[in-house]
């Protein structure tokens, strides 16, 4: 049967392009649906990433070559800068060492006190150094890729920090790479407390490079500009007491029940090349099953008390 289009088909070239368009569009929509809802496709993704990885290795070459070339030419001015930096670092190291000694004493004391009070001892965590391979490939996301993957035993959900504070969390692991979602990613939540008075709250990313916000902070809450927010360690994912953000502005509008609190991350979320991956976090006891719907809030309170 010949259809009524202008051209007669001499050669059979398979289905028409409209049919193909519909087929592949539906296929992609299906894939997207599966990818957002379930985690079935992660193994496929890591298998395909092996195909891509040679290209990705090549991509970072120009940047690192450029850096190496820059390192070769150390000019007079740079030498001075290096000497200055060296002085600064050694001074910093001395003051840090003194503080570290104090810290050790305090840790010992803390452990003894905890033993006395029969509280579980906070476990130490180990760290692993990783380098950023590339940053924010997608305009819509605040994510970076680092050069440690399953080969270095990196696991999903591990926390990534730099020398000052929390940078983000590992959200996807490839054979040689892993993806870090930055704390500034939209709706990324970190449980924190105010260092000054231990007010607990949750910090959200805003999708902007240098902004975080505290939502649902009552207007009467004791929070002010320049307060440091540290992780509370309540969820068992983030170790307690690591700086995350600094409050820059608190707006209390009487028309709204919540204060509008703007913060900036303390860590160089978009600055450094090297990051630390925290591992071997202590396991918390299983969260109780939420069988009774509607009693969710009660459960949450219970979990908090357990900690």
């Amino acid at each position: 049967m010949i259809d009524n289009t202008q051209s007669f088909r001499f050669f059979n070239r398979g289905p028409s392009s409209v049919a193909r368009l519909v087929f592949f569009a539906v296929l992609s929509l299906l894939l997207m649906f599966v990818d957002t809802r379930y985690r079935y496709l992660e193994s496929t993704r890591s298998a395909l990433s092996v195909l891509i990885s040679p290209i990705q290795m090549l991509e970072i070459l120009p940047g690192s070559l450029w850096q190496q070339a820059g390192d070769l030419y150390i000019t007079q001015g740079m030498q001075q800068a290096l000497i200055k930096q060296n002085d600064e670092l050694s001074r910093q190291h001395q003051s840090d060492a003194a503080q570290l000694l104090q810290l050790q004493a305090i840790q010992l004391e803390n452990q003894q006190l905890r033993n006395l009070a029969e509280l579980p001892i906070r476990n130490e965590f180990t760290t692993q150094l990783a380098e950023i391979v590339y940053a924010e490939r997608d305009v819509f996301k605040r994510k970076i890729l680092i050069n440690k993957g399953t080969d270095a035993d990196v696991k999903l959900g591990q926390v990534v920090m730099d020398d000052i504070g929390i940078v983000g969390q590992i959200t996807r692991v490839y054979p040689w790479l892993s993806e870090v979602t930055l704390v500034t990613e939209k709706d990324h939540a970190v449980p924190v407390q105010v260092l000054r008075n231990a007010v607990r709250t949750i910090l959200f990313g805003s999708g902007d490079i240098s902004q975080l916000s505290l939502r649902y902070m009552p207007a009467s809450a004791d929070i002010q500009a320049d307060d440091i927010l540290v992780t509370s360690g309540i969820d068992g994912i983030y170790p307690p007491g690591i700086p995350v953000a600094k409050v820059v502005k608190v707006e209390r509008d009487p028309a709204y029940p919540f204060a509008n609190v703007t913060c900036i991350p303390v860590a160089g979320v978009d600055k450094h090349r090297h990051m630390l991956i925290l591992s071997s976090m202590p396991k918390l006891p299983e969260r109780p099953d939420e069988k009774a719907e509607g009693k969710e809030t009660g459960n949450r309170v219970k979990v908090r008390r357990n900690n």
């Binding site: 409209v18 992609s28 997608d138 305009v139």
Partner: protein
């Protein structure tokens, strides 16, 4: 009334080897993956889209919707975006290329650029729309990339054309030398 478009295409394009097509796509993936940052990321033309559209326009029988979709999946893995997000956008791009290839081949490069812009615009819009649906916000500056992709269209298609041709000449000479 004159038909400048006919004069604009005096030569008949020779065959292009499959390896050249594959190489061009790999190079495009490489270019997309270079460490672009900040405003440069917004201004980055989508090289993969440009190259795939070029091949869909010029070799619609060999490079069609299916292969472009597969490249889109690779782009998804490389970009760590949602599985199928690039693939869906590139499927539309390839459809536009395959359906319009006769018409677009009649135009010279300058006229093509105007037409090609709309194909890129649709591709970018689909990608952004999916993102908006899932993440709930829009980055309007993202659409700058669709302008730069259009700007890159002309030099890139000249480049691909001459390089593909040269490779073919070389092969032909090779064949003649070996009777």
């Amino acid at each position: 009334m004159s038909y400048p478009s006919i004069q604009a295409k005096p030569e008949i394009l020779g065959p292009v080897s499959n390896s050249f097509i594959a190489l061009s796509v790999l190079v495009a993936l490489f270019m997309n993956g270079l460490p672009w940052g900040g405003i440069w990321l917004m201004l980055r033309p989508d090289f993969v889209a440009v190259v795939m559209l070029y091949w869909c326009l010029h070799k619609p029988v060999r490079i069609g919707i299916g292969l472009t979709w597969a490249v889109g999946i690779l782009a998804d893995v490389a970009d760590a975006s949602l599985f199928g997000q690039h693939a869906l956008a590139y499927t539309l791009l390839a459809f536009g290329g395959v359906v319009l290839h006769r018409r677009l081949q009649m135009f010279d490069l300058r006229q093509q650029t105007v037409q090609v812009f709309w194909i890129f615009a649709v591709t970018y819009a689909v990608y952004a729309l999916v993102n908006w649906q899932i993440n709930g916000y829009m980055v309007w500056l993202y659409f700058l990339g669709c302008l730069t992709s259009t700007l890159v269209w002309m030099p890139l298609s000249i480049m691909l054309q001459t390089m593909g041709q040269k490779r073919v000449d070389h092969e032909r000479r090779h064949r003649e030398r070996r009777p």
